[in-house]
Amino acid sequence: MTATSAGQEPTISWTLTWATARRVLAQLRHDPRTIAMMLAVPALLMILLRYVLDNPLALDRFAPEFIGIFPFVVMFIVAAITTQRERARGTLERLMAMPLAKLDLVVGYAIAFGSVACVQVGVVLAISLTWLGVQLPGSVVPLAVVSVLDALLGMSLGLFASAFARTEFQAVQFMPAFVLPQALLCGIVVARDHMTDVLRWLSDVLPMSYAVDAMQQIAAGASWSGLVIKDIGVILGFTAAALIGGALTLRRRTA
């Protein structure tokens, strides 16, 4: 089919994007246990971290990093599985035969999971700052903003990764395959400055490094410093790239 004979691909429509977001949220609503887990798991992990460290100073230092990572991981896996299911159950093929733009679907997912991420981060922050007594050197706002952006980053990477999974089993395997190496290299286990050059370079191209770096800056009292803004820019860039990549991997035609 040549470009001249083909009609225009539909462009993103607010109505269809919104309808998709509402549909994804309705799916979640029918699955209360998943919602409960999405909201509770990051918070429970923070409580666990509090008792594992059992040291208020250490907790103040490490809590922000983990507040950034737990929602990232949860969102990655939820998005990867949801998108994989959409492919496996034929609903994606049905939608691709309808006047829906690929970006309607991808952005609809981002809106739906983004709003879940806001609640998720709200719960983690509320528990951490009150019950667990985490002390922040500055305002809570940068921490909350970066946490939600981290969750969105995890979601968009999960959405993108699902394109390479043929089965739900494979999609689940992407969690250890994509996320754990990033966790090892992001500066939580060993400071990035202490890594060998090769590992440091690897760390530089992985999105989670910037999520954790931003949190480390915030924990050190940097609030909206230039470094934090730069990290936020990189996180947004990775998110946008993964969403566009996710849209590009949706195929109208399959063999």
């Binding site: 083909a6 609903t91 006047p99």
Partner: protein, 225 residues
């Protein structure tokens, strides 16, 4: 693999695509709808290349699997797909009410699709395909596994739709459904054995029923090759 298939789908007609499992019926239908990768050849329908974005509102497609969200209710599924097809509030609700009644799905609107029986699932898939009031309706084995009464009702509905101006292409591997079509495409191993009205096929082969006519044509085809 499909070989040199060319055929006309008339509006106001139910065209049956019949042949054994694995003969290429689904591939042909997916090609028409524009979701199949076409490696060579040209496919056109309603004057446009298959898969053209302008066709996505005009062609309705129901796959063998219902391809709906099992974790949503019937009403939520129909509302979502209806919105994607461009229906807006008052017309959307009207269309859904009408389809639910026509497909005998009344009372199930607020139930999760995951709890539906096979027959209810098949009718749900059909309802989604009908939402956009398409000019061409491509239905892949829509009556498989349904009870005889429902099958009769569905065929009556197909003819009602055809009378309203829709062109229908309905596939089946059950020969007793062939007699219900206005026009038949007999398919085997990626090729058409025949394309004609049921009456013409019977007259041409001298067979007593369409099953024998198919066997007759298949045997002759094998002898030639």
């Amino acid at each position: 693999m499909l070989d040199e298939l060319s055929f006309a789908l008339a509006s106001c007609q139910v065209t049956g695509l019949l042949g054994p499992s694995g003969c290429g019926k689904t591939t042909l239908m997916r090609t028409l709808v524009g979701v199949q990768v076409v490696t060579a050849g040209r496919v056109e329908l309603l004057g446009l290349p298959a898969g053209d974005p302008r066709l996505r509102r005009r062609v309705g497609y129901a796959t063998q699997d219902p391809s709906v969200y099992t974790d949503l209710t019937l009403a939520e599924n129909l509302r979502y797909f209806g919105t994607v097809l461009g229906l807006t509030r008052p017309r959307l609700a009207e269309t859904i009410t009408q389809l639910v009644a026509e497909l005998d799905l009344g009372g199930l609107e607020d139930r999760l699709i995951g709890t539906f029986s096979g027959g209810q699932l098949a009718r749900t898939g059909l309802a989604v395909a009908l939402l956009g009031k398409p000019d061409l309706l491509v239905l892949d084995e829509p009556t498989v596994g349904l009870d005889p009464v429902l099958r009769r009702d569905l065929w009556a509905m197909f003819h009602r739709l055809a009378a309203g101006g829709t062109a229908l292409l309905v596939s089946s591997h059950v020969m007793d459904e062939a007699a219900r079509c206005d026009y038949l495409l007999f398919m085997r191993e990626g090729r058409f054995l025949a394309s004609a009205t049921p009456q013409a096929l019977l007259a041409g082969t001298g067979a007593a029923d369409l099953e024998s006519a198919f066997l007759d044509l298949a045997t002759r085809d094998q002898a030639v090759r």
